[in-house]
Assembly symmetry: D2
Homo-oligomer: 328 residues x 4
């Protein structure tokens, strides 16, 4: 029974706390949030205690800490939990500064405790299946990776301001997915980005529509299209083109219902957003973390994966700004 | 070069005449219609002559006759053309009376000239592929055949009156398709039929919605659903369920365009009606006729197929009327 | 908090017990099974007690009883639980004898406590959506209902022997679904049935492949195809054809992955069987039961629904045996 | 009746000659090819004459010339035909040199005769429908265009050597399609390109795998993925993402057949190559040319479209070579 404490009782903290509470080989011991009421509500719903941050990190009855707090607290909390000997799962991004992440990872390395980063999409059953079958050689040599990833609508401008920008906040998932699927590191990245969805996003210094193309040393190419708007649901699609064929995974819908009328045939929109689309991915992600800790194997994706995706996001941000390709 | 004469310049005559004119190994020599203007127009469009029925049937410069006239003239014309030594293609049904068809087929047998009946759906590329793959053993032993076949809307009541009824006019195609796919003759048939689409159809003594189920001696089952109404286009689907799997063929659409909006994803309706849905089937059907004549092989489907489908349609009509299953 | 006792710790009892335990407004108090070890295992996994049948039915700390025992015990247990004032959820079929069901429902009526029958498919999100949209008038007047329902493979012959036969054991779900979708009672039924999948099934006096067609007083027609074999997964599809269009719901797959190779494009098979296909339906079904009890509304489907589906299954069995249509 | 002469009796010349011969308002008068036998064969199949290049260009019985000869002869022939007062349809690319195209277009402008360039994909029913619906405002403001375009396999190395390279030979179609769908000119282009399919292509100085991203002045982004290899057929897909939704068009298959087995559900591969995929597009393209000439309206796409696609292809070639984005 892995004894778990959760830091952060917001949207994502609730998901992980519920999954921890429901996991047959884990026990949710305690939760923390700066918002006491949120912590109370979450604890009550999952038969756990409310504790202070420190009491969770240092608790002798806690084996693993799930960090679901705001991004700028991740590194401090990872380091504290590492020093307390805990296994750590942290939400992405590790931090908005690659330098800060590097310092943090050094401390992680010294602590020698497991760290897993929440790139949840790697655990989506469809995406994970594509990766597994690609690695099994089903498409031969990978040549091209296509990712289309659009949010249903833009977040509040207040969120945009402290998000680190589209590349570090949103595309970082797709950059990780591209690394996951390519099986080789990109060495160059180029970005075209625009402000088309909401002028406020542009006024906040960010973009809302972007296409990135990346190339690996051996010449594999990945391209990613992002938008903060998709009226037809949360658009999440990947394709891996190889010498022997194609593997792709498309959107999911709520039902398999199809209507036929004079206008044609109509199906559901794509699932609305990440809570619905990646519900199973979050469950499998936590299961992978728990299983890794139990078995003594290093969890994946780890801190290096967190760093590498951030480095790509930084480079994409630079390219969009300078108008030039950036070497990694 | 097979020299062809076409009897009947209506909707279906035009299709066959155009296909004959365009066929690389055939020549459309002459056309006939009781409506002189229609015959003129068709002849002009295909660089053919207008001739009398007799001049076509007896023409020494004509090898094959395509009979596209009203149903009640089919048998007389088949017999006349046979006696004149012509190869004959006749539209379905051969006649509305099985007894009349039997007499006709005796004359055909004596004449020894090839007769092909226009069950065009056997030549639809998708349906033909299903049948070919079923015969090749891909689904193992056939167990169940499902056919859904709905017209986009009812024909004029004037047509209904002389049509022979839904089973002989419309379902006869599906009854032939069931035989084609089962690979074994049905020995019993049961029909449930209703008048739901247009009260006028009921007043004319006909039905517009029907489900038939048939069983073969070895226990294979086929069921067919028919309706004179489908708002979403011409609904034409088949499924063959076997011990090793399923083969099915669905509807076709004009384009592959898909629209994503708040309401979901939308595609085209099914192709509107038989001219569009079976355009290629008509071309391949005539090609099969021409190829059979050239090679001296018996064309298929033949008169016996025409008779057997009619016998099933008669039995379905009787079952719908008596409320009892009918042995074939 | 609805306090629940579960009778039967087999395959289906485990599902309902787990759903009860996980439901936010229910508490799983106790479980029973004649197999003590099975009861212990289930109780342990859900933090519930093991009790005798009587101790659950009469327990003052239990509000509702879920009956998941063998079919021939359902009526006795429903009656006992009713007399003890409990709300009852019973798995289908209520009994294999319609007479026995009628007696039971009289006792239920006198007890005046809620009874819900486990026609789980009504709660499948896709099927429920089709029904809701049909009732909302989206396809206009219902004309035709098509149901294709195939198990992935036959059950053990020992199961077949005591199953009541394909119509009462398997098709009863589809007969209920036909009633659910038609919105009107069938008045006549005809069945074609065969033994094609396993000769042992025939030797046990049962069939494994069947097509049923039913008609309502107003002329609506429903047809159902059943087979005990489908190599490509659990085949569960419905279609409702109406005057204004079509609503249908198809199979579900594990992932959205599609592979493109020389052979074409390939997707997953259908979900393997009912545990996977109807996982969400079972959850929503129990939620509907709990919500009905809480709100004081009668649960649906109820005992009458259980009886009516059984009457149809009896009639289908008789038709398959006599070769004649049967009036309901 | 538009009287047509065809220059070039190769693969594409045959298509246009056959379509001209079959067009109800055109007459194929004469064909030319340096390969006399090829010209004879084509003329015979379409009941046309064989003539010299000059006799066609200057023929008083010829209204329009279709130029289907090798790329390096296009401009000379366009100019000659223009001077002879003919309407001209020329295959793409107009030339591999933008400077040469500009000179040619000056002569076209002076001649004042219609010139249409063979970007056949604009006439594909699915792609044309997407464009029409985008222009009608169905997706709101265009934000993002995604094009995936892969040949089934690489052409012979001899062809590669004189092709002008992937961007001018293959992607030029997609660059034109991007312009067509964006409705606004790209002002910057960046290309990542690799040699992954066939080392011989790299030795010939060309690439076989490429991703291009382009941006317009208002910030719209288009990205294109090209590969000379797709084992699953000719992969031709477009997507237009706008403020109000998505319109996309996918691949087409030979049949609608689907097979269900233990392995899952399988459909046909994509249509094999351009002759099959764009058969209808070629017919509609020639019809558009003929209709434009008849009506006195300027045909589209015209010489400017040919030039602009070439300028983009040149810029992509430069970007792939320099590693920098290129302003248009």
């Amino acid at each position: 029974m892995l004894r778990i404490g959760v830091l952060g009782a917001g949207r994502i903290g609730k998901i992980h706390a519920a999954n921890a509470a429901a996991h047959p080989r884990a026990k949710l011991v305690a939760v923390f949030d700066v918002d006491q009421a949120a912590a109370q509500a979450l604890a009550a719903s999952a038969a756990a205690e409310v504790r202070s941050r420190e009491a969770i990190i240092d608790g002798s009855d806690i084996d693993a800490v799930l960090i679901c707090t705001p991004t700028d607290t991740h590194c401090d909390l990872i380091e504290a939990a590492m020093k307390a000997g805990k296994a750590v799962f942290s939400e992405k991004p590790v931090d908005l500064s690659a330098a800060r992440v590097r310092t943090c990872l050094e401390i992680v390395a010294r602590a020698g405790r497991p760290l897993m980063i929440g790139f949840n999409r790697r655990f989506d059953p469809s995406f994970a299946t594509v990766e597994r079958r690609v690695r099994a050689g089903e498409v031969g040599a990978v040549e091209l990776v296509t990712i289309i990833s659009k949010d249903p609508g833009p977040p509040p401008l207040s969120y945009i301001a402290r998000s680190g920008g589209l590349f570090r906040d949103m595309m970082i998932h797709d950059l990780d997915m591209a690394r996951f699927l390519l099986g080789e590191e990109p060495v160059e990245i180029f970005a075209h980005a625009s402000n088309l969805v909401d002028p406020g996003i542009g006024q906040a210094g960010d973009v809302d529509t972007a296409v990135v193309t990346m190339k690996t040393a051996s010449g594999k190419i990945a391209h990613i299209a992002n938008s903060r708007r998709a009226t037809y649901g949360y658009d999440q699609r990947i394709e891996v083109h190889g010498s022997d064929g194609l593997l792709r995974a498309g959107n999911k819908t709520q039902t398999s219902v199809e209507a036929g009328t004079k206008a044609g045939f109509a199906t559901d929109p794509a699932l609305p957003f990440f809570l619905e689309r990646y519900e199973m991915a979050y469950r499998l992600e936590l299961d992978a973390f728990i299983t890794a800790i139990e078995s003594g194997r290093a969890p994946s994706p780890d801190g290096e994966d967190g760093l590498k995706a951030l480095v790509l996001a930084d480079a994409a941000t630079e390219s969009a700004s300078s108008g030039k390709p950036v070497k990694i």
